[in-house]
């Protein structure tokens, strides 16, 4: 008997054990008491609210140039009372651009997540539910997609589709398809052998209804966790693609990644142009990372330490 088991056993000797509710309610209870999860949630709320109310928050339009004419490459004013985040290299209000950038970021993150998750889950479901040849074909396709490093895959797709917001979304979705396909297939394969599935089978429940009624609902929580974490990476990947010049075709559209890229030459004279959009990316991505990690720990007893 290992020490952990001994402890577990002595634990169970306690009188008045906690009565376990449903997994979701338990997890929710744990999350609400978890300061890290709360920080994550607050960051996400902040990010989403800024994105939604950008026109109210931003003093200028993202492409307005209130400082036009006063800007030279060596003189890009930093934060001031009038321009909280300073001006950028074209004399635009950096604060307004960062605020509007949240919209792009949220939009690309959510749409690409939904696209990638739907297709990935569909593929994973087909592979997991039918097995055999379907499984082989789907998983080979997934292998090929995984054989190309994520950003390179996105670059290849964006190159075919030309620079636009839609192509960025599709490119990021493509990175996430194999992740969700593998996740759901793995879940389904693991659960196909689970006792409750065998029990349902022995009661004569049809395979389709077992898959839809038992296996799928039980795979929901890892998908939610992965979805939350993927939102974080999608936001970073979107920034990376626009950093590489593969974002929206309109340079007036404020994208955090492109804002960072265009500031490269002015790093020495105007570091604020790198600091603010960079911090914005971190805040958005950190929120989803923290919440996702804690969600995983709350939902999966294995991660609970």
């Amino acid at each position: 008997m290992s020490l952990a088991e001994i402890e577990a056993e002595t634990e169970s000797k306690r009188v008045g054990e906690e009565t376990g509710g449903s997994l979701g309610r338990e997890a929710w209870k744990r999350l609400r008491r978890d300061p890290v999860a709360i920080i994550g949630f607050v960051l996400i709320a902040f990010f989403v609210l800024v994105a939604l109310f950008a026109p109210l928050l931003a003093p200028y339009a993202p492409d307005a140039q209130p400082g036009a004419g006063t800007i030279t490459p060596t003189n890009i004013p930093g934060p001031s009372a009038e321009h909280w985040f300073g001006l950028d290299e074209l004399g635009r209000d950096e604060f307004s651009r960062v605020v509007y950038g949240a919209r792009q970021s949220l939009l690309v993150g959510v749409v690409s997540l939904i696209l990638g998750m739907s297709l990935g889950l569909l593929m994973g479901f087909l592979a997991g539910a039918f097995g055999g040849k379907v499984d082989t074909v789907v998983m080979r396709l997934v292998d090929v997609m995984l054989a190309i490093p994520g950003l390179l895959l996105a670059i290849a797709i964006a190159a075919v589709m030309g620079p636009s917001l839609l192509s960025v979304m599709i490119a990021i979705a493509a990175i996430n398809v194999p992740i969700f396909a593998r996740l759901l297939r793995g879940q389904m394969l693991a659960q196909r052998e689970a006792d409750y599935v065998l029990a349902a089978q022995s009661l004569g429940v049809r395979r389709r209804s077992i898959m839809l009624g038992h296996v799928l609902p039980n795979s929901v929580s890892p998908v939610i966790v992965q979805g939350t974490l993927t939102l974080a990476t999608a936001i970073i990947e979107a920034a990376a693609l626009s950093f590489l010049g593969l974002g929206s075709a309109d340079p007036g559209v404020p994208e955090w990644g492109r804002m960072l890229a265009s500031t490269q030459r002015y790093l020495a004279s105007a570091p604020h142009l790198a600091f603010f959009p960079g911090t914005a990316i971190v805040i958005a991505a950190l929120g989803f990372t923290l919440l996702g990690e804690r969600l995983r720990e709350a939902l999966d007893p294995k991660y609970r330490r």
Binding site: M1, S2, L3, E9, T10, S12
Partner: protein, 351 residues
């Protein structure tokens, strides 16, 4: 075993409490006392959760540093093991006191060859190195009955059967001819046929080398074949101690009686049902207020609750019960008869 042999291990009022943040403390061992004389074989018997494994780990100094409070004394030679500096304890472990664990698969390092796992003890405690250590390791494996030991040295744990793995673990434990061996459920994870072989091997090795043995088990059948003295534990306390013959012939604590009654015996009348102890080991009362066994006890009287039952010592027996069984009450056949799970080979008297 004569009383003249010297005291080797003396456990006095040992208590182990697990503490956890935001949770109530759990007292897994609650004032346990027993001693072990040189060459003696002592059984610690109880259901899982009775605190017998934790007792062994406390003696070995293997409980985690944090979240555990250990109280009492464990005298070995002139030292109190509980207060000994960590380095001194490392010197004693594996050399003077060794331990064999329950699950031979998980107790061996899966990515290190058996040979290295044996020789590392020799390197550490016997200052043997290189070829000499390897030869000694092969000899140790041979002595525990592992065939082709030289070749086995290079094998990894997963290449050995369960019984062979437990033999390998025993060879490591006995590598320095310790004076005390603690075996924690050494046969529980093994097939029944292998169990008997391993018990026979343990018995042979300890009697050959004069090693004292503390055998921890839930299986009275294992005790029947091996032990000189038996301590029955329940919920962290010793409830009854007696020489083996007397315990089997005349169990006084209802829990001991229950344990005996729930073991299948060859000599019981055909068709007589086993009498399992009702309830589970988690149905306990705190010792401070009552007898912990009272909720499951058929012999319960009013005096069992309300105050802790005192420990009464008579001769070489002791008992913690206010309403013990009368003589012969528990066993339909007062003769000591080994349970069915122990083959006749084990019936011989220990020398």
């Amino acid at each position: 075993m004569t009383a003249a042999t010297a005291l080797l291990l003396d456990v006095r009022d040992l208590s182990v409490t697990f503490t956890r943040r935001d949770r109530r403390d759990v007292r897994a061992v609650d004032g346990v006392s027993f001693d072990v004389r040189q060459g003696e074989t002592v059984g610690l018997v109880g259901e899982s959760g009775s605190g017998k494994s934790v007792t062994a780990l406390a003696v070995m100094g293997l409980l985690p540093d944090r979240g555990v409070l250990v109280d009492g004394q464990v005298h070995f030679d002139d030292d109190d093991l509980l207060t000994l500096p960590r380095d001194r304890m490392r010197d004693i472990r594996g050399r003077d006191i060794a331990m064999v664990f329950q699950d031979p698969m998980s107790s061996l390092n899966p990515v290190v060859p058996i040979g290295v796992q044996v020789t590392e003890v020799l390197v550490r405690h016997r200052d043997m190195h290189g070829e000499a250590a390897r030869e000694e390791a092969a000899e140790l494996l041979r002595r525990v009955g592992i065939p082709d030991p030289v070749r086995r040295l290079k094998d990894y744990p997963h290449q050995l059967s369960g019984g062979m793995r437990q033999r390998a673990l025993i060879s490591m434990a006995l590598a320095c001819r310790p004076r005390l061996l603690i075996a924690d459920e050494p046969t529980t994870a093994l097939d029944v046929t292998i169990q008997a072989q391993i018990l026979e091997l343990l018995k042979e090795l300890v009697s050959d080398s004069g090693t004292a043995l503390v055998l921890i088990t839930h299986d009275l059948g294992v005790v029947a074949g091996l032990c000189d003295t038996v301590h029955v534990m329940y919920s962290g306390r010793v409830v009854e101690s007696a020489p083996r013959r007397e315990l089997f012939a005349d169990p006084r604590h209802p829990y001991t009686g229950g344990l005996l009654g729930s073991v299948p015996r060859l000599d019981s009348p055909r068709g007589e049902p086993l009498r399992p102890i009702p309830g589970s080991p988690t149905d306990t009362l705190p010792w401070a207020e009552a007898c912990a066994f009272a909720p499951r006890c058929a012999h319960r009287i009013g005096a069992c609750t309300g105050q802790p039952p005192p420990l009464e010592v008579t001769g070489d027996r002791s008992l913690r019960c206010v309403n013990p069984l009368a003589e012969g009450e528990a066993s339909p056949n007062p003769a000591v008869a080994p349970p069915a799970s122990v083959p006749p080979a084990l019936e011989e008297e220990p020398t």
